[in-house]
């Protein structure tokens, strides 16, 4: 059955901004889908609001709409493009929910659009708890499939009644939410009120499921694919090391399943196939989760997703079976046996991969960004990223995965004294899942806990516990050995010990261990992920290291360039850097190089074996990278390594790699260091006559105080060498400064604290530029909408800048050139400026790809990362202009009157984190980055673009109704005009007393509600009620006073968290307010249109302009 010939165009919906629970795995799946559909000759129309994705590159679709993923906007795209079919199973829950809404409101029928991949009926059957339960219960009895006893509830009364029967603890699962939003485990009635209440609110159908607790059961997941001829294959089994009770996204997971006999595995397989058949997913994939009682094997089917998921991405990387790619082919009519297996090329996709290695995925958390958040792991996903590692055994894979996290405290460590370990205390600690639990399990083992005791405390399967014991035993052997013999060293390496771990145990540096190891010829070999355990020859060089006997790296002729990726996603380093790495790979491949990608993030496009000529799925540590380079040098010529595109991770390796004789292409490590180095960089600025805010460095409180006294408060303090503003704070007085120094633990002469004058009232400007030593190409100039002091990653910005004049732009251009030249950039540079009282201050310069590169590329239609990669390998900007990579004339600082305005808005994860008391963490923006993702709004006018960005990022701006205003005294003057405009537009203004008074005096009537602090008792909840009930459509609340130490005043906190919980847009700066008013006006005028990036590019090229 070849592909359907009745479809000629397909609309693909992406997953929007990166949020916890929905990250770049959907860029990976969507990009694969777009590639497949286009290669089949179909016209691909794409909607995705996230500019950082690779799928939204204009070359991946015929029409790319960077527009909000809401039913309204997608309908406009459908009306304009009239696609034959809609593929929504590759864009996560966002795409699926949007497709369901478009079906429910009749849009699909109206325009004759067929939903492919999974039918509406199948999606409903799979996602609706009642029908799913009926399906599981209808399976043959011999399979023993059960569902947990449960009850569907639509109100708190329902919940209370249900729990009478189910008992506590009870699991709360809201329907139709992603990443387990709003779910949790309630141990008593108070917790039930809190969790189920939030769950009812989070569910679009006001529905939660309460179910019996199966905490501590073994947890499994199967990835299943089915075609229209009813052929079904299981792509991968995944076992969670953390048993039931921890969200799969937060669990350490292992593929394949390790602790099932064939009989039990086949039962799960039969059930999975039975479920996908009954649900009726007939042209795509789904995943099914199971819990297995370790006492007796009782099987409970937890849930299924009738779409590609985060686990699908993991399974694809773990097996070499590209689920999304195959799903896209099935959706357009192929059957599994008609699709070749890419890796073997000779065998078909209608088979089940078999693994001769072990894959371990570990989550990466960001609790340090949310100091007040509850760090316990529950069914509510909290991790922001993950790393995957492959080894020939579990111990090797686990230890590689832990060091892939790039957190010094993540890897096992035998360096510390063990004498004080308190077994009972440790057993109590490990009974509660939390980040870093495994290390405490190791400690408990050292403290003498038996496998039985550990199992009782954690319910982690005894086989895994024994593997941990094995690691401990080897560490003990290494500790006790008289010398590190070749046999012992080899044994330790076979179980994943890094040189650094061994060095710590033996009291020597990692470099020394490496030297000894190399002298003894103990090096890893590289095996291949081939889907078939070597039964057939693999054609795709997808490698992982192992301390085994035979390597499989093939010799090559072409010169190779290695590209180091960015590792696990974290706040401050995410998909944007993967975007740049992928672009470099594509560009360098075109330029005739053999591209070799090294990365360990399974969610990304860079770790798709299709992206680069060779893929090494390896940790990004010096040891692992050096070994890859060695292996590739054995295989053929290596031109150099690209470190500037993957963010701080590869950048941090640059100097050490160079020391080891590895050529770094592009900007030299010395230049990178210069830009980071205050003194040297200050000299560059001084030579060029560029002002920087007064600043100094210190390694102690007296030093910092001296600097602050000299330059005056407020000051911005931060550690050097960080990304994402980690540990950055604005300090208003000496006491806060002392407090900051007290808390900052990593201060040393090598890593001093930077103290800068904080420019209170400045406009911040971000610039991305290319420099080749002669010419400058200004990629884009972005004007921040929020005032200075908010991290650029969290700030919204506009490109081209909306209020800067030609003189400002000239100054920016000249300054950028001077800095790029002074630093010695060959490739990309990102510079942050602050414009204050007509003086352009240089805040910082980073000679590398920045977070904004993809945004600028989308907004201006120029592939900056591709250009950068070619510059790094020696081409000039003139060459690239001639080659058509860059425009023949002009640049991003000079976009012309026809260019659209693009607005970037950050998306914050505040709704994922709660304090120990169950409250949402505070939502204030500050100098430390906390956003997980971003969206772009693009249109001819700023207001419209801003409104689109808001609609893409959150609930969207209201066009009528009530607006609540409460601003700090310093902001009162600036809020009068925009609030008056809102009143003129017919909004009803509700305000706190002080704000209302100022408004009244300016002729704006406002209803007064009392602040919490003004009312001592529960009567105060009127304000929160207004917000929680959704009566208020927009909240404007600017912070009162300082924000240091994460303890803003309570009032604002209550207001903002109520807004976040209720999904009401909340604006926390006056600049944001002004922009919002423009957006509201634009939206009220109606007729907000949609337009593809290709169409904008055409308009700019021909000068036809914005219609």
């Amino acid at each position: 059955m070849p592909r359907r010939d009745d479809i000629s165009s397909v609309l693909v919906i992406g997953s929007g901004p990166i949020v916890i629970g929905q990250a770049c795995e959907f860029d990976y799946s969507g990009t694969q889908a777009c590639r497949v559909l286009r290669s089949e000759g179909l016209r691909v129309v794409l909607v995705n609001s996230n500019p950082a994705t690779i799928m939204t590159d204009p070359e991946f679709a015929d029409a790319t709409y960077v527009e909000p993923i809401t039913p309204e906007f997608v309908e406009r795209v459908i009306a304009q493009e009239r696609p034959d079919a809609l593929l929504a199973t590759l864009g996560g829950q966002t795409a699926l929910n949007t497709a369901m809404a478009l079906d429910a409101n009749g849009v699909l029928e109206k325009y004759g659009v067929e939903l492919i991949g999974a039918s509406v009926e199948a999606i409903e059957k799979g996602e609706n708890r009642e029908s799913f339960k009926a399906i599981v219960e209808g399976l043959p009895e011999a399979w023993g499939a059960e569902v947990a006893r449960s009850s569907i509830c639509h109100s708190m009364d329902d919940c209370l009644a249900a729990v009478e029967d189910l008992g506590y603890p009870v699991v709360v699962r809201p329907s139709y939410t992603m990443g387990g939003v709003g779910s949790g485990i309630a141990r008593d009635e108070e917790e039930l009120h809190r969790i189920a209440g939030a769950g009812l609110a989070a569910s679009p159908t006001t529905e939660v499921l309460l179910e019996e607790s199966i905490l501590g059961w073994k947890e499994y997941e199967l990835e299943v694919m089915r075609d229209k001829a009813d052929n079904v294959v299981i792509v991968c089994s995944i076992e969670n090391l953390d048993p039931m009770g921890v969200h799969t996204g937060d669990s350490i997971t292992v593929a394949p399943a390790m602790t099932l006999t064939d009989r039990e595995y086949q039962r799960l397989r039969d059930i999975a196939i039975g479920v996908i058949r009954e649900v009726g997913v007939d042209t795509g994939g789904c995943n099914i989760q199971f819990a297995v009682n370790p006492e007796n094997g009782r099987i409970v089917v937890i849930e299924m997703n009738p779409r590609v998921s985060r686990s699908s991405a993991l399974a694809s990387k773990a097996t070499g079976f590209p689920i999304a790619k195959i799903a896209a082919k099935l959706a357009i009519g192929y059957t599994l046996d008609e699709i070749p297996n890419d890796i073997t090329r000779e065998t078909p996709a209608s088979f089940e991969p078999t693994l001769d290695y072990v894959v371990v995925k570990v989550p990466r958390f960001a609790f340090e960004k949310f100091p007040s958040a509850d760090e316990r792991l529950t069914t509510h996903m909290k991790s922001v990223g993950e790393a995957m590692a492959i080894g020939r055994n579990f111990t090797e894979a686990l230890q590689k995965a832990l060091r892939s996290l790039e957190r010094p405290q993540a890897a096992f460590d035998w360096h510390r004294e063990w004498v004080d370990l308190d077994k009972d205390a440790l057993l109590a600690e490990i009974a509660v899942p939390h980040d870093g639990r495994l290390k405490k399990v190791m400690d408990a083992m050292r403290a003498g806990a038996t496998l039985d005791e550990l199992f009782e405390a954690t319910k982690i399967d005894p086989w895994f516990l024994d593997q941990l014991a094995l690691i401990n035993e080897i560490a003990a052997e290494v500790t006790a050995a008289d010398e590190l013999t070749p046999a012992l060293l080899r044994k330790a390496k076979r179980h994943g010990f890094s040189d650094e771990q061994l060095g710590k145990i033996r009291g020597m540096s990692a470099d020394v261990v490496r030297g000894v190891r190399h002298a003894l010829g103990i090096r890893p070999v590289y095996k291949t992920v081939d889907t078939c355990a070597a039964e057939f020859a693999a054609r795709t060089p997808y490698h992982y290291s192992s301390y085994d006997e035979e390597t499989e790296v093939e010799p090559r002729e072409k010169p190779a360039v290695l590209i180091l990726g960015s590792g696990p996603n974290r706040i401050g380093q995410g998909i944007e850097f993967d975007y740049s790495c992928v672009h470099a790979s594509l560009a360098l491949s075109e330029a005739g190089y053999e591209t070799v990608m090294v990365n360990c993030n399974p969610e990304t496009v860079s770790t798709d074996y299709d992206t680069s000529d060779r893929l090494y799925f390896e940790p990004l540590t010096l040891e692992d990278v050096l070994e890859v380079i060695h292996a590739e040098r054995q295989a053929g010529p290596v031109v150099g390594v690209v470190v500037q595109l993957g963010g701080q991770t590869p950048l941090g390796l640059a100097a050490a790699l160079e020391r080891e004789g590895v050529p770094i292409v592009g900007t030299s490590p010395a230049a990178i260091d210069l830009a980071e180095h205050r003194g040297a960089f200050g000299q560059v600025l001084a030579d060029a006559g560029l002002p920087a805010p007064k600043h100094g460095t210190a390694i102690s409180f007296p030093g910092a105080k001296k600097v602050a006294d000299e330059i005056g408060y407020p000051v911005l303090v931060r550690p050097s060498y960080v990304l994402g503003g980690r540990g950055m704070e604005i300090v208003y007085d000496e006491a806060s400064l002392a407090d900051y120094i007290e808390r900052a633990t990593e201060i040393s002469p090598e890593h001093p604290v930077l103290v800068d004058r904080f420019l209170d009232d400045a406009v911040e400007i971000d610039v991305d530029a290319l420099y080749d030593g002669t010419d400058l190409y200004l990629g884009g100039v972005m004007e921040h909408i929020e005032e200075a002091g908010i991290h650029s990653g969290d700030s919204s910005c506009a490109l081209p800048p909306i209020t800067l004049g030609a003189e400002d732009l000239d100054k920016i251009r000249a300054s950028t050139r001077a800095i790029a030249d002074g630093v010695g950039v060959r490739g990309l540079i990102n510079i942050q400026f602050a414009l204050s009282s007509d003086v352009l201050y240089v805040l910082e310069a980073n000679p590398r790809a920045s977070r904004t590169v993809p945004f600028v590329s989308k907004a201006t239609g120029v592939p900056l990362a591709k250009a950068a990669a070619r510059l790094m390998l020696g081409e000039s900007i003139a060459d690239l202009r001639a080659a058509g990579v860059l425009p023949a004339t002009g640049d991003g600082g000079d976009l012309g009157p026809h260019a659209p305005i693009a607005v970037k808005e950050a998306v914050m994860p505040f709704n994922r984190f709660r304090t120990l008391e169950g409250k949402t963490v505070d939502t204030l923006l500050g100098p430390e980055m906390r956003s997980t993702g971003e969206v772009m709004g693009i249109d001819a006018q700023f207001g419209t673009a801003f409104a689109k960005a808001q609609a893409g990022a959150q609930e969207g701006l209201p066009t009528s109704g009530k607006v609540f205003v409460s601003v700090a005294n310093r902001d009162k003057r600036h809020m009068i005009f925009p609030v008056k405009r809102l009143a003129d537009l017919g909004f009803e203004i509700v305000a706190t007393a002080g704000t209302a008074e100022v408004l009244r005096r300016n002729g704006v009537e406002a209803t007064v509600v009392r602040k919490l602090s003004e009312v001592p008792d529960a009567g105060a909840s009127r304000l929160n009620e207004l917000i929680s009930s959704g009566e208020v459509g927009l909240v404007i609340n600017t912070p009162h006073g300082s924000t240091s130490g994460g303890s803003p005043r309570v009032d604002g906190y209550e207001i903002r968290t109520a807004a976040i919980s209720a999904g009401v847009p909340c604006i926390t700066t006056v600049q944001g307010l002004a922009a919002a008013v423009q957006g509201i006006e634009a939206a009220r005028e109606g007729g907000v249109g949609v337009r593809s990036l290709q169409s904008w590019a055409e308009a700019v090229r021909t000068g036809a302009g914005a219609e």
Partner: protein, 389 residues
């Protein structure tokens, strides 16, 4: 746990160093690799592995220990066992002991810690070959000599070594509806079990059973099981099967039974370069065009004369290829239709009883039951509950 050094030597001289696993000693056999990630207990007790040294491509083996329900026969049959990372504990609520204890007790010599992937690739590129394992001597030269003097699998008639000494009956579950005479050429326990689940009383007969013994059971159909060895060397069973076909008795064969059918029909069998051993093999049922994921364990296959689509005339009726492996187009199933075009006999090269392995092909037991009922003039019944399809 400290282990004794051990070596593995292939007949072409390639040597791997590792550590002992299971019993200490020395063993030789044919080196084959199995790619299943689950089901080691079933594999070890499958008589088809007689005289074979099994290399497990899955690195971790033994994790769930040994239980009393999963063995496919009363003993471990493999001649040797090669794994990378043996489990130190048994983790399963059904486990009664560790795998290593069982191996040691049954005298199975194994080796652990070797690069099983390198070994597998070697066998893939150079074909199945003889191998020796020793944990009593690390003299590779001496072991190589022993390996070279060991008999080859080609030409080996092994059914007699694994078959049951005495006939026995596996009673039907529920109402008995049919009777089958199953010739044990190395039968796995799950096979009569699958038939019994369908109301079939199974009379398991030794490999040297005669037509009279078969007839004496009053069987509605005859079944030939899987088993070890070279089908070309197993002539008595072929002769028996020819008699059965001449009688017009419904026939179903699995694995070695498929090769027997092929030879009975006058087709040749041949040795595959490295065989199919695993539980992930895609097979297409050419009668329905559906793909099933199946368990395989075969080193030999039936050679089809000419185009796979073209039927082949035989003295017993028209033979055709019913199943093929999609990986390499190896013949995986045969059908014989009589002069009236009615199905008379069929067989598959793989394992629908699926222990270990997926249950996708279980429908073949229904097909067999349907065939026997049709021959008795009964109407076909609905498929048994528990069948995947």
């Amino acid at each position: 746990m400290s282990r004794t050094p051990a070596i593995l030597v292939l007949e072409d001289g390639r040597t791997f160093h590792g550590e002992s696993y299971g019993a200490l000693g020395e063993t030789v056999g044919e080196a084959v690799f199995s790619t299943g990630m689950t089901g080691y207990q079933e594999t070890l007790t499958d008589p088809s592995y007689r005289r074979q040294v099994v290399v497990m491509t899955a690195p971790h083996v033994g994790n769930t220990g040994i239980n009393t329900e999963d063995p496919e026969s009363s003993r471990i049959w493999v001649a040797g066992y090669v794994v990378r990372d043996p489990a130190r504990v048994a983790s399963s609520w059904r486990a009664t002991r560790t795998l290593e204890e069982d191996l040691a007790e049954q005298g199975i010599v194994g080796i652990s810690g070797v690069d099983t992937r390198a070994l597998t690739r070697h066998l893939r590129e150079r074909g199945a070959m003889r191998v020796g394992i020793s944990s009593v001597s690390t003299d590779a030269e001496a072991l190589l000599a022993t390996v070279k003097s060991a008999p080859s699998m080609s030409g080996a008639d092994l059914a007699g070594e694994v078959t049951t000494a005495e006939p026995y009956v596996v009673p039907a579950q529920g109402d008995k509806r049919l009777t089958v005479a199953a010739v044990d050429l190395g039968i796995k326990a799950m096979t009569p079990q699958r038939m019994a689940e369908r109301g079939i009383e199974v009379h398991v007969l030794p490999a040297d059973a005669t037509l009279e013994q078969v007839r004496a059971t009053g069987a509605d159909g005859v079944f030939f099981s899987n088993g070890p060895g070279d089908p070309a060397a197993t002539t008595d069973a072929v002769a028996l099967l020819q008699d059965v076909l001449r009688d017009g008795t419904p026939f179903f064969g699995i694995c070695f039974g498929n090769q027997m059918l092929g030879r009975a029909l006058g087709l040749e069998t041949y040795k595959l370069k490295y065989g199919h051993r695993g539980i992930n093999q895609p097979v297409m049922d050419r009668t329905t065009s559906k793909v099933e994921i199946t368990a395989h364990n075969h080193g030999f296959a039936v050679a089809w004369p000419g185009d796979l689509d073209a039927p082949h005339e035989t003295p017993y009726g028209q033979a055709s290829v019913s199943h093929v492996c999609l990986n390499d187009d190896v013949v995986e199933g045969l059908e014989v239709h009589d002069a009236d075009g009615e199905l008379l006999a069929f067989s598959v090269q793989y394992h629908p009883e699926a222990a270990a392995g997926p249950h996708d092909a279980e429908y073949l037991f229904d097909r067999f039951a349907d065939l026997m009922r049709a021959r008795r003039g009964e109407t076909t019944e609905a498929t048994t509950e528990g069948t995947v399809r």
